[in-house]
């Protein structure tokens, strides 16, 4: 049986880019959204970033060289778009009166599509205490179930550095949870 990714790659090979994009959306839409959402936090921002991701994927399809899997490639584009969005947000924040972005928890609570009552609030607050790097790697590994090699390819970093960051994040979270218990 042909997997979804193989099917997409065949479509790209035969230059059926529109169908390839439709198939990519069919397979990865929800997964890409959640990866972006955990990076940018806010639903509206995640929606915009996902839209831009599709634009870039479609533009990039004719140039896709099959050097990575289509999944890793799409995740990488989504990651880059998210980082671009966050950097833009940080630059805009410099123009605000206090010159900084609200912290992780405040940003989450500002989003109408975040339910602070339903949430395992304590765990989210612990995630907010991790460094940005640790949070990104932890989310990709734990929630998106990406392999270390995939995370390394998406973030363009060394696999060992990713492993170290993940274990540091896991250790910090475990310690915090033990303290809480």
């Amino acid at each position: 049986m042909v997997s979804s990714e193989d099917h997409i790659e065949k479509l790209i090979h035969s230059s059926k880019h529109e169908r390839a994009l439709t198939e990519i959306a069919h397979v990865f839409h929800e997964r890409l959204y959640w990866m972006i959402r955990k990076l940018v936090l806010n639903h509206e921002d995640a929606n915009d970033v996902l839209q831009n991701t599709y634009v870039r994927v479609f533009k990039g399809l004719p140039k896709f060289r099959f050097q990575s899997s289509i999944k890793t490639w799409c995740y990488r584009i989504a990651y880059n778009e998210s980082m671009r969005h966050l950097n833009k947000q940080k630059k805009q924040a410099l123009l605000w009166p206090d010159g900084t972005l609200p912290d992780y928890w405040s940003q989450l609570c500002e989003d109408p599509y975040f339910d602070a009552h339903q949430v395992d609030a304590h765990f989210q607050k612990l995630l907010g205490e991790l460094t940005e790097d640790q949070r990104i790697v932890f989310s990709m590994k734990y929630y998106d179930e990406l392999k270390f090699t995939e995370i390394a390819a998406v973030t363009k970093r060394n696999v060992n550095a990713i492993k170290t960051t993940y274990y540091a994040a896991k250790k910090a979270l475990t310690q915090q949870l033990k303290i809480a218990v």
Binding site: E30, R31, H43, Y54, Y113, F114, Q118, D120, Y143
Partner: protein
């Protein structure tokens, strides 16, 4: 995305509008794939020629207006009237005869 994972996100407080994934997928695909209306871009040289033609027309209009104004307003008679203000009363008759009676008439 498994149901389990989606529930995990919900437990972390993240949510999305109703039917978001179905609707947004189609909307985003339409945005990327629908052919956009072509905007006609006129070549730069055509714009340049049009601008030059307008400028020439403006200059020609200005020149013809100036010519008309010079010939109608600043007539010899008007010049004489202005000059007459500078002539002393005693010399006026002689000046008038010389410049108006003899030259103009």
């Amino acid at each position: 995305m498994s149901v389990h994972k989606t529930k995990q996100f919900r437990r972390l407080g993240y949510s999305v509008p109703d039917k978001y994934f179905d609707l947004s997928k189609q909307r985003m695909l339409n945005h990327v794939l629908m052919p956009k209306q072509k905007t006609i871009v006129r070549p730069l040289w055509k714009k340049f020629i049009e601008t030059a033609a307008v400028l020439v027309l403006l200059l020609a209009t200005k020149w013809s207006i100036d010519t008309y104004m010079n010939s109608s307003i600043y007539s010899d008679y008007d010049v004489l009237l202005v000059e007459s203000m500078l002539i002393e009363e005693d010399d006026f008759d002689a000046w008038f005869e010389e410049n108006y009676v003899l030259d103009v008439l």
